[in-house]
Symmetry: C2
Subunit: 208 residues, 2 copies
């Protein structure tokens, strides 16, 4: 994704998310966001009267909507959707980024949580809402694939939790090992919850 | 844990880990570390000539050794050790902290990764080493419990990854829900790898 083709406000929110996921909240300055977004510096005050806190919260909200939206796109692209196939796609979005662009960025919601959960209540709330939106989208997809209702939210939490943790380990190690590991280990567990344990995952689901 | 009963150097490393896991690396100042450690401010220069970078790296190293050391203690305390029982103890260290002290702190290795993996090579390396030390301790424990050799490291990575991600979600939500969820979901999966799938986990393992 690039910053082009959007309005200045949208570009600044997007740029803030990109810088936060690379350097954390503390090292992301308002000025560098404006530069990254190719926006006049004065426009920050105009669009974000609440300052950095407002911009960070909106970046976190954008990230939650983006992650939730990707779930529907992954589902649409899977010829025969399975829970393990969905998780494989969620993980592969990260392995592909890391293999193409290096390990420079993690999840902006994780960064906001680490840096602000203890000190900025609005940002903690934004992170909680982002996780909830993403978890809800994954849980609904699991339900559509035949996972029993009472298992959808727990399994969605397991998927997002293990993905978030594997992103951290991958960035530290500069290796996709942890990401491919959680996908390979959890795939059969997730498929079993939808009654797919006996039947091997269709080959098309992994090739998309 | 408290800062008392250690030398000033050790106290400062410990205090740095505590402040980093609460506020992230960016918001943790050298001066506040000295105050937290009840150490004279000049002693920072004396013990850490490499400045904040050295202190952060040593705090991350301390956290890795601490997490690895806890694995042996959890194993020793389990009357009948099982992989699911070990994971339950690893997770419960966090649920107990959050229920007693609130959601103020996460994992310092996660914080260092989010804030410095892209910008400070020595800190990224320290985080990688910390994850490796912790993963190695968990993998050895799994081997001792009968998990086949080629499954020990992948399952240890899954345990640590899902725990790290659940810590993030728990802090954002101010709820232990994600932590109890990953423990409940993965416990049977881990026990199955050690051939424990049929036999229920001994009651003592959960109550200890």
């Amino acid at each position: 994704m690039t910053v082009s083709g959007r309005g200045p406000r949208e570009r600044m929110v997007f740029s803030a998310a990109q810088l936060i996921r690379r350097d954390g909240v503390g090292s992301t300055g308002m000025r560098s966001v404006a530069v990254h977004a190719q926006a006049p510096r004065g426009s920050l005050q105009h669009y974000f009267p609440g300052g950095k806190e407002q911009l960070v919260d909106e970046a976190v909200g954008w990230a939650g909507r983006y992650a939730a939206g990707r779930v529907a796109r992954f589902m649409a692209a899977l010829p025969e959707p399975t829970p393990g196939g969905l998780f494989d796609r969620m993980v592969r979005q990260w392995t592909e980024e890391y293999e193409r662009q290096g390990f420079g960025g993690g999840c902006p919601v994780a960064a906001a949580t680490v840096d602000r959960a203890a000190s900025v209540e609005s940002t903690r709330g934004a992170a909680s809402a982002a996780f909830a939106e993403w978890t809800g989208a994954v849980a609904r997809a699991l339900a559509d694939m035949g996972v029993p209702a009472d298992r959808c939210e727990p399994l969605a939490t397991l998927m997002i939790g293990s993905l978030e943790g594997a992103i951290l380990i991958a960035r530290a190690e500069r290796s996709v090992r942890a990401l491919t590991t959680v996908s390979r280990e959890l795939g059969p567990v997730l498929d079993a919850a939808a009654g797919e344990s006996v039947r091997p995952r269709p080959k098309g689901a992994a090739d998309e």
